[in-house]
Amino acid sequence: MSQIDIATIKEKLGYSNDIIFKEFQIDYGGNSRKVNLFYADGLVNTDSVQDFILETLMVEFPKLNTNQHPFLDLLTAGEIEEVTSTDTMYYNLFSGHVILIWDSNKILSIAMNGIKDRAVSEAMTETVSRGPKESFTESIRTNTALVRRKIKNPDLWLENMRIGKMTQTSVSIMYIKGIVSDKILEEVRNRLSRIDIDGILESGYIEELIQDSAYSPFPTMYNSERPDVIAAELLEGKVAILVDGTPHVLVVPALFISFMHSAEDYYQRADISSLIRILRFVGIFIALLGPSLYIAITTFHQEMLPTQLLIGLAAQREGIPFPAFIEALIMEITFEILREAGVRMPRTMGQAISIVGTLVIGQAAVDAGIVSAAMVIVVSITAISSFVVPAMNMSISIRMIRFALMGLAASFGLYGIILGIFALVLHLCSLRTFGVPYMSPFGPFIAEDTKDTLFRLPHWAMRKRLRLISQNNITRGNNKPPGPKR
């Protein structure tokens, strides 16, 4: 390699003062050699630099008969590589390596990562009452380790790539060789390699850049911050995409039904989980259709209500100046604003929002004659129901579609709702996620794969993996119903 000019490097780095440069001379092979050493302060562990590099070079080297050993062997650090391109050098520099330029002609990169990571903490978004509490962190290395700890098998493979021209974010594909479908894996690799963007700051960037249907409101990639969920998905033959800098790990392919499942479903007893899942589907039904059914029935199909209820509703609505649709819209939008405020606002102000919230969606609104009490109930139950969807992104899709259905209900009553549902189901059936039909195992119907969908069979009865996802090795285990040995 040609001469490396340290001044050029300094200029390239814009003399940024977080890059620490050090220059000294040492004796090696009878000659005095120049050593340039630099690193990004904060990204490396300065104690280690002191102990293992500076100490070795400046204190131990002069004592040794250094001629007998190649220089690289003498450095007491684990991960040392010689780099030839300056691009790699800069990448390593900002990945927490110490760069050592030997005699102005050789670049050595020594891993000394010492960035302050957030500790592994409890999962914030996907909470369970039974099950592991840990969640991923922002460091991709910690995250891969958390998964590795769960699947101790050489077949758990990891492929790394760098995406983002400016950010050079490391993105890893994780899968279990032998279970994963090669077609899906190839598709993931292809789509990732096609990405052309300046920066990747969160896995959401990747999701939007590689998902199947750009114009669908439904998520076709699953994400989780729980290592146990990711391990379970890997065991089903799916592919995980880990992105440095975010605790949210992507999983493909993601079926519609998997957004309705929570990690806890697999840790509780099968019968309880099945009942809870059914409850969840009822919740989703209400979240999707609650207000629109109310609007349609009170506006067009009053005959469907029992007479006494109808009289009660009519009496309530007597003083209300708005049609049911506008009333529902006001309440729904108020609720959405409250929810958004609750998420964005500083934690300490939580109290204020809940007090104001109970005023605007509550008795005060009814007393003011703006909305009817029945509407408050409908909107509240809808709001609560939309939170039983375990996956946040699916819950958002359902909320969006709810507004469309409300519009249809206001214009065309039940007929509009039914046609809306037709279009919705058709749309869902047309979606694919990395080649797998989104609505499987219901559309196309695969009887064998329905054992972990609307309900969950006990673990001993789930003997096969999903057929459309893992084409290679579909046997999970061969258990008999448990009990004493007969």
Partner: protein, 367 residues
Amino acid sequence: MLEKGKISHRQLTVLTLLYTIGTSILIVPSIMAVFSKQDGWIACLIGTAANLLTILIYSALAGRYPTLTLAEFSEKILGKWLGKVISLFFLSFIFLLSSFLLRVVGNFMTTHIMPNTPIEITIILFMAVVVYAVRLGIETTARAAEIFLPFVIALFLFLTFFLLPQIRIDRAEPVFENGIKPILLGAFYYFNLQEQVILMMLVPYTNRPEKARSALLAGTLLGSVVIIVSVLLSTLVLGTEFTQRNMYASYTLAKQISVGNFLQRVEAMLAIIWLITIFFKTVVCMYAVTLGTAQTLRLKDPRTLTLPFALLLVFLSLLVYDNIVSFVAFTPKVFSLYATIFMVIIPVGLLGIDALRSSFKQNQSSS
């Protein structure tokens, strides 16, 4: 091939089932009561048998050209120009049928569900969703059918179960009161309301065409069971007289459900079943007509036809008959004879000519 999607034979069964229930669940009980009185269910049984028999003919015909639709193999059998004429004639039947289906939806909705909404709007809305389905292709439609099927079955079982207490067997008596003739007449009308011949347009797109016959048979049989049950229930719960006077007898039937004063007014469920089934029937017809036209006219993409055909269908559906009275007169008397041409004469003719031709060819090659 113009359509790249493939459906499994299970999906074909589901589509056939929904297609068979189609409009029939709503309008057949009344028509049967008019022509066959309390023996309507026997007429339906005979009609179903006839239906299954014709499916054997259709599948024998389709079996000779497993990769081609009717619009394609008619050209193979009759030669290019005569074949095209027959195809277009056949497609015009499907086109007309689609407009009838649309009009039935419009009529029912404006009469029973949305009396203040203009019929044009209901038809246009329905057509919009049908066009969406046709454009998404047969694969997506079949998947959606699989998802809706459990709801159809569950709702139907629910209605049937809660009607059981109101059954009075003596309403179906006396059996064979007027002899066999009215029953056969009813059977003939019932047979012609099913139009299973259109399903032949789907057979080449199943992944195993040799299993298509059993799929069509199973689907038709199951669908017919649903219709026969609804005819029986109409007779047994409402009685012949009342059923005759109700255009949409099974809708009236569902209104009879009343359990403990709280489970009432569940007729919307029947409307939902019916909307689902007629939706899939319309989609299959619309799909068949666009695909067939594209094949006959050698167009590259049948989807370019969906919007123009949709517009034509909306207007045609408003023109096909003046009012409900002419519909009641027209459907059994004229439409059934018209449908017979396409359901029996053309397929049998094609099969006969093809058999003659192939035996002729064999003779030539052997001599």
